[in-house]
Symmetry: C2
Subunit: 152 residues, 2 copies
Protein backbone atom coordinates (compact mmCIF):
# COMPACT_ATOMS: atom_id res chain seq x y z
CA UNK A 1 0.00 0.00 0.00
CA UNK A 2 1.27 3.45 -0.88
CA UNK A 3 1.59 6.00 1.91
CA UNK A 4 -0.13 9.34 1.38
CA UNK A 5 -0.24 12.76 3.00
CA UNK A 6 -2.68 11.47 5.62
CA UNK A 7 -0.12 8.94 6.87
CA UNK A 8 2.25 11.64 8.12
CA UNK A 9 0.74 13.39 11.13
CA UNK A 10 3.10 15.59 13.17
CA UNK A 11 5.32 13.64 15.55
CA UNK A 12 8.00 10.93 15.43
CA UNK A 13 7.73 8.80 12.26
CA UNK A 14 10.46 6.17 12.46
CA UNK A 15 14.14 5.21 12.52
CA UNK A 16 15.92 3.59 9.60
CA UNK A 17 19.25 1.85 9.09
CA UNK A 18 21.91 0.98 9.93
CA UNK A 19 23.87 1.96 6.83
CA UNK A 20 27.63 1.38 7.07
CA UNK A 21 29.81 3.82 5.10
CA UNK A 22 33.22 2.61 3.98
CA UNK A 23 36.42 4.59 3.61
CA UNK A 24 36.33 3.84 -0.10
CA UNK A 25 32.83 5.29 -0.48
CA UNK A 26 33.89 8.46 1.35
CA UNK A 27 36.90 8.93 -0.92
CA UNK A 28 34.98 8.05 -4.12
CA UNK A 29 32.26 10.61 -3.39
CA UNK A 30 34.79 13.29 -2.48
CA UNK A 31 36.92 12.65 -5.58
CA UNK A 32 33.87 13.23 -7.76
CA UNK A 33 32.06 16.04 -5.95
CA UNK A 34 34.08 17.58 -3.12
CA UNK A 35 37.82 17.07 -3.68
CA UNK A 36 39.01 19.03 -0.65
CA UNK A 37 42.11 17.49 0.96
CA UNK A 38 40.32 16.82 4.27
CA UNK A 39 38.01 14.37 2.43
CA UNK A 40 40.72 12.65 0.37
CA UNK A 41 44.05 12.53 2.14
CA UNK A 42 44.84 11.22 5.63
CA UNK A 43 47.77 13.51 6.32
CA UNK A 44 45.95 16.66 5.16
CA UNK A 45 42.89 15.52 7.10
CA UNK A 46 44.87 15.11 10.32
CA UNK A 47 45.90 18.75 10.06
CA UNK A 48 42.36 19.95 9.29
CA UNK A 49 39.81 21.37 11.73
CA UNK A 50 38.17 17.93 11.80
CA UNK A 51 41.32 16.05 12.87
CA UNK A 52 41.12 13.10 10.50
CA UNK A 53 39.60 11.84 7.27
CA UNK A 54 35.94 12.85 7.05
CA UNK A 55 33.24 12.52 4.42
CA UNK A 56 31.83 15.46 2.49
CA UNK A 57 28.78 17.03 4.11
CA UNK A 58 27.04 16.58 0.76
CA UNK A 59 27.79 12.85 0.92
CA UNK A 60 25.90 12.77 4.23
CA UNK A 61 22.98 14.54 2.53
CA UNK A 62 23.00 12.04 -0.32
CA UNK A 63 23.14 9.11 2.13
CA UNK A 64 20.22 10.62 4.05
CA UNK A 65 18.23 10.73 0.79
CA UNK A 66 18.98 7.09 0.07
CA UNK A 67 17.94 6.11 3.58
CA UNK A 68 14.71 8.11 3.19
CA UNK A 69 14.03 6.28 -0.10
CA UNK A 70 14.70 2.83 1.34
CA UNK A 71 12.95 3.67 4.61
CA UNK A 72 9.60 4.79 3.22
CA UNK A 73 9.78 7.26 0.34
CA UNK A 74 9.75 4.66 -2.45
CA UNK A 75 6.40 3.42 -1.12
CA UNK A 76 5.03 6.93 -0.62
CA UNK A 77 3.02 8.99 -3.13
CA UNK A 78 5.76 11.62 -3.32
CA UNK A 79 5.70 14.23 -6.05
CA UNK A 80 9.06 15.81 -5.30
CA UNK A 81 10.44 18.57 -3.11
CA UNK A 82 10.85 22.32 -3.46
CA UNK A 83 14.17 22.32 -1.59
CA UNK A 84 15.68 22.09 1.86
CA UNK A 85 15.02 24.51 4.66
CA UNK A 86 18.15 23.86 6.66
CA UNK A 87 21.10 21.48 6.91
CA UNK A 88 23.42 21.36 9.92
CA UNK A 89 26.59 19.29 9.70
CA UNK A 90 27.02 18.61 13.43
CA UNK A 91 29.87 16.07 13.50
CA UNK A 92 32.11 14.61 10.78
CA UNK A 93 31.29 11.41 8.90
CA UNK A 94 34.13 8.91 9.54
CA UNK A 95 35.11 5.74 7.68
CA UNK A 96 33.08 2.72 8.86
CA UNK A 97 30.43 4.82 10.61
CA UNK A 98 27.11 3.01 10.87
CA UNK A 99 24.38 5.54 10.24
CA UNK A 100 20.89 5.55 11.66
CA UNK A 101 18.28 7.98 10.38
CA UNK A 102 15.60 9.32 12.72
CA UNK A 103 12.65 10.93 10.95
CA UNK A 104 9.93 13.08 12.46
CA UNK A 105 7.12 15.09 10.89
CA UNK A 106 7.57 18.70 12.00
CA UNK A 107 4.38 19.91 10.37
CA UNK A 108 2.10 19.19 7.44
CA UNK A 109 -0.43 21.21 5.51
CA UNK A 110 -2.67 20.89 2.48
CA UNK A 111 -1.38 22.85 -0.52
CA UNK A 112 -3.31 26.05 -1.18
CA UNK A 113 -2.64 26.05 -4.92
CA UNK A 114 -2.97 22.28 -5.49
CA UNK A 115 -5.49 20.94 -2.97
CA UNK A 116 -5.03 17.35 -4.18
CA UNK A 117 -1.56 17.52 -2.58
CA UNK A 118 -0.05 18.38 0.78
CA UNK A 119 3.37 19.44 2.01
CA UNK A 120 4.94 17.42 4.80
CA UNK A 121 7.99 18.97 6.43
CA UNK A 122 10.35 16.31 7.76
CA UNK A 123 13.04 16.67 10.39
CA UNK A 124 15.83 14.20 9.63
CA UNK A 125 18.69 13.32 11.95
CA UNK A 126 21.64 11.07 11.07
CA UNK A 127 23.56 9.62 14.00
CA UNK A 128 26.37 7.09 14.30
CA UNK A 129 26.58 3.95 16.43
CA UNK A 130 28.22 5.99 19.21
CA UNK A 131 25.15 8.22 19.37
CA UNK A 132 26.84 11.30 17.91
CA UNK A 133 24.56 13.43 15.75
CA UNK A 134 26.17 13.94 12.33
CA UNK A 135 23.46 15.80 10.44
CA UNK A 136 20.18 17.57 11.07
CA UNK A 137 18.06 18.56 8.09
CA UNK A 138 14.62 20.06 7.60
CA UNK A 139 13.12 19.11 4.28
CA UNK A 140 9.61 19.57 2.86
CA UNK A 141 8.19 16.93 0.51
CA UNK A 142 5.04 17.21 -1.61
CA UNK A 143 2.72 14.21 -1.22
CA UNK A 144 -0.55 13.18 -2.82
CA UNK A 145 -3.61 13.23 -0.61
CA UNK A 146 -5.57 10.00 -0.41
CA UNK A 147 -8.81 11.87 0.10
CA UNK A 148 -8.58 15.35 -1.46
CA UNK A 149 -12.26 15.96 -0.67
CA UNK A 150 -11.67 15.85 3.09
CA UNK A 151 -11.37 19.03 5.14
CA UNK A 152 -7.83 20.40 5.34
CA UNK B 1 48.23 32.52 -3.78
CA UNK B 2 45.59 31.26 -1.37
CA UNK B 3 42.42 33.30 -0.97
CA UNK B 4 41.45 34.30 2.56
CA UNK B 5 38.48 35.81 4.37
CA UNK B 6 39.57 39.29 3.27
CA UNK B 7 39.19 38.35 -0.41
CA UNK B 8 35.41 37.90 -0.10
CA UNK B 9 33.76 41.27 0.44
CA UNK B 10 29.97 41.35 0.00
CA UNK B 11 28.86 41.50 -3.63
CA UNK B 12 29.15 39.43 -6.81
CA UNK B 13 32.18 37.11 -6.73
CA UNK B 14 32.23 35.26 -10.06
CA UNK B 15 30.68 32.79 -12.49
CA UNK B 16 32.06 29.31 -13.10
CA UNK B 17 31.48 26.60 -15.68
CA UNK B 18 30.13 25.40 -17.96
CA UNK B 19 29.73 21.86 -16.63
CA UNK B 20 27.81 19.49 -18.90
CA UNK B 21 25.81 16.76 -17.16
CA UNK B 22 25.13 13.57 -19.08
CA UNK B 23 22.11 11.31 -18.90
CA UNK B 24 24.37 8.55 -17.63
CA UNK B 25 25.63 10.69 -14.74
CA UNK B 26 22.06 11.58 -13.77
CA UNK B 27 21.01 7.93 -13.69
CA UNK B 28 24.20 6.78 -11.92
CA UNK B 29 23.77 9.30 -9.11
CA UNK B 30 20.07 8.50 -8.73
CA UNK B 31 20.70 4.75 -8.68
CA UNK B 32 23.11 5.20 -5.80
CA UNK B 33 21.46 7.93 -3.74
CA UNK B 34 17.94 8.81 -4.88
CA UNK B 35 16.34 5.86 -6.73
CA UNK B 36 12.93 7.47 -7.29
CA UNK B 37 11.39 6.49 -10.65
CA UNK B 38 11.37 10.10 -11.92
CA UNK B 39 15.19 10.09 -11.78
CA UNK B 40 15.71 6.64 -13.32
CA UNK B 41 13.02 5.73 -15.81
CA UNK B 42 11.81 7.71 -18.83
CA UNK B 43 8.26 6.46 -18.81
CA UNK B 44 7.74 7.01 -15.07
CA UNK B 45 9.41 10.40 -15.45
CA UNK B 46 7.04 11.45 -18.23
CA UNK B 47 4.14 10.84 -15.87
CA UNK B 48 5.76 12.72 -12.98
CA UNK B 49 5.22 16.33 -11.91
CA UNK B 50 8.44 17.22 -13.76
CA UNK B 51 7.31 15.77 -17.11
CA UNK B 52 10.48 13.93 -18.08
CA UNK B 53 13.71 12.45 -16.75
CA UNK B 54 15.31 14.79 -14.21
CA UNK B 55 18.33 14.61 -11.94
CA UNK B 56 18.08 14.33 -8.17
CA UNK B 57 18.08 17.66 -6.39
CA UNK B 58 20.94 16.29 -4.29
CA UNK B 59 22.90 15.64 -7.48
CA UNK B 60 22.54 19.34 -8.27
CA UNK B 61 23.87 20.16 -4.79
CA UNK B 62 26.84 17.85 -5.27
CA UNK B 63 27.57 19.36 -8.70
CA UNK B 64 27.40 22.84 -7.16
CA UNK B 65 29.99 21.75 -4.58
CA UNK B 66 32.31 20.44 -7.29
CA UNK B 67 31.97 23.68 -9.24
CA UNK B 68 32.71 25.69 -6.07
CA UNK B 69 35.84 23.55 -5.52
CA UNK B 70 37.07 23.94 -9.09
CA UNK B 71 36.05 27.58 -9.26
CA UNK B 72 37.92 28.86 -6.19
CA UNK B 73 37.49 26.79 -3.05
CA UNK B 74 40.52 24.53 -3.62
CA UNK B 75 42.71 27.67 -3.63
CA UNK B 76 40.94 29.21 -0.64
CA UNK B 77 41.92 28.83 3.03
CA UNK B 78 38.65 27.06 3.82
CA UNK B 79 38.19 25.24 7.13
CA UNK B 80 34.81 23.70 6.37
CA UNK B 81 31.18 24.61 6.72
CA UNK B 82 28.59 24.34 9.49
CA UNK B 83 25.79 23.54 7.05
CA UNK B 84 23.45 25.07 4.51
CA UNK B 85 20.94 27.77 5.27
CA UNK B 86 18.61 27.12 2.37
CA UNK B 87 18.35 25.17 -0.89
CA UNK B 88 15.68 25.87 -3.51
CA UNK B 89 15.28 23.45 -6.41
CA UNK B 90 13.78 25.85 -8.92
CA UNK B 91 13.75 23.84 -12.16
CA UNK B 92 14.67 20.24 -12.94
CA UNK B 93 18.13 19.15 -14.04
CA UNK B 94 17.84 17.56 -17.50
CA UNK B 95 20.23 15.28 -19.43
CA UNK B 96 22.88 17.30 -21.30
CA UNK B 97 22.23 20.51 -19.36
CA UNK B 98 25.27 22.78 -19.32
CA UNK B 99 25.48 24.30 -15.87
CA UNK B 100 26.88 27.68 -14.95
CA UNK B 101 27.39 28.65 -11.30
CA UNK B 102 26.99 32.27 -10.21
CA UNK B 103 28.48 33.04 -6.80
CA UNK B 104 27.95 36.10 -4.68
CA UNK B 105 28.98 36.97 -1.13
CA UNK B 106 25.81 37.75 0.80
CA UNK B 107 27.62 38.74 3.98
CA UNK B 108 30.80 38.04 5.92
CA UNK B 109 31.83 38.42 9.53
CA UNK B 110 34.76 37.64 11.79
CA UNK B 111 34.07 34.71 14.13
CA UNK B 112 33.37 35.73 17.70
CA UNK B 113 34.71 32.51 19.22
CA UNK B 114 37.67 32.03 16.83
CA UNK B 115 38.88 35.49 15.78
CA UNK B 116 41.55 34.01 13.48
CA UNK B 117 38.68 32.90 11.24
CA UNK B 118 35.67 34.46 9.54
CA UNK B 119 32.39 33.17 8.16
CA UNK B 120 31.52 34.05 4.57
CA UNK B 121 27.94 33.35 3.51
CA UNK B 122 27.72 32.58 -0.19
CA UNK B 123 24.69 32.78 -2.44
CA UNK B 124 25.03 30.17 -5.19
CA UNK B 125 22.87 29.92 -8.29
CA UNK B 126 23.03 27.15 -10.88
CA UNK B 127 21.51 27.95 -14.26
CA UNK B 128 21.42 26.12 -17.59
CA UNK B 129 22.40 27.34 -21.06
CA UNK B 130 18.80 28.45 -21.66
CA UNK B 131 19.05 30.78 -18.67
CA UNK B 132 16.68 28.80 -16.44
CA UNK B 133 17.59 28.86 -12.75
CA UNK B 134 17.88 25.29 -11.46
CA UNK B 135 19.09 25.81 -7.91
CA UNK B 136 19.57 28.59 -5.38
CA UNK B 137 21.53 27.86 -2.22
CA UNK B 138 22.79 29.90 0.70
CA UNK B 139 25.83 28.35 2.31
CA UNK B 140 28.23 29.68 4.96
CA UNK B 141 31.91 28.67 4.79
CA UNK B 142 34.55 29.21 7.48
CA UNK B 143 37.74 30.82 6.12
CA UNK B 144 41.08 31.73 7.64
CA UNK B 145 41.81 35.41 8.02
CA UNK B 146 45.04 36.63 6.43
CA UNK B 147 45.45 39.31 9.05
CA UNK B 148 43.74 38.28 12.30
CA UNK B 149 45.11 41.37 14.04
CA UNK B 150 43.11 43.76 11.85
CA UNK B 151 39.88 45.32 13.06
CA UNK B 152 36.79 43.20 12.40
Amino acid sequence: MMLSFEDFPPGPFGSFGPRRVSREEIIDFAAEFDPQPMHLDDEAARQSMLGGLSGSGWHLCALMMRMLCDGFLLRTASLGSPGVEEVRWQSPLRPDDELMLDVEVIHSRVSGSRPETGIVTFGCRLRNAQGQVLLDAVTPIILKRRDPGAAA
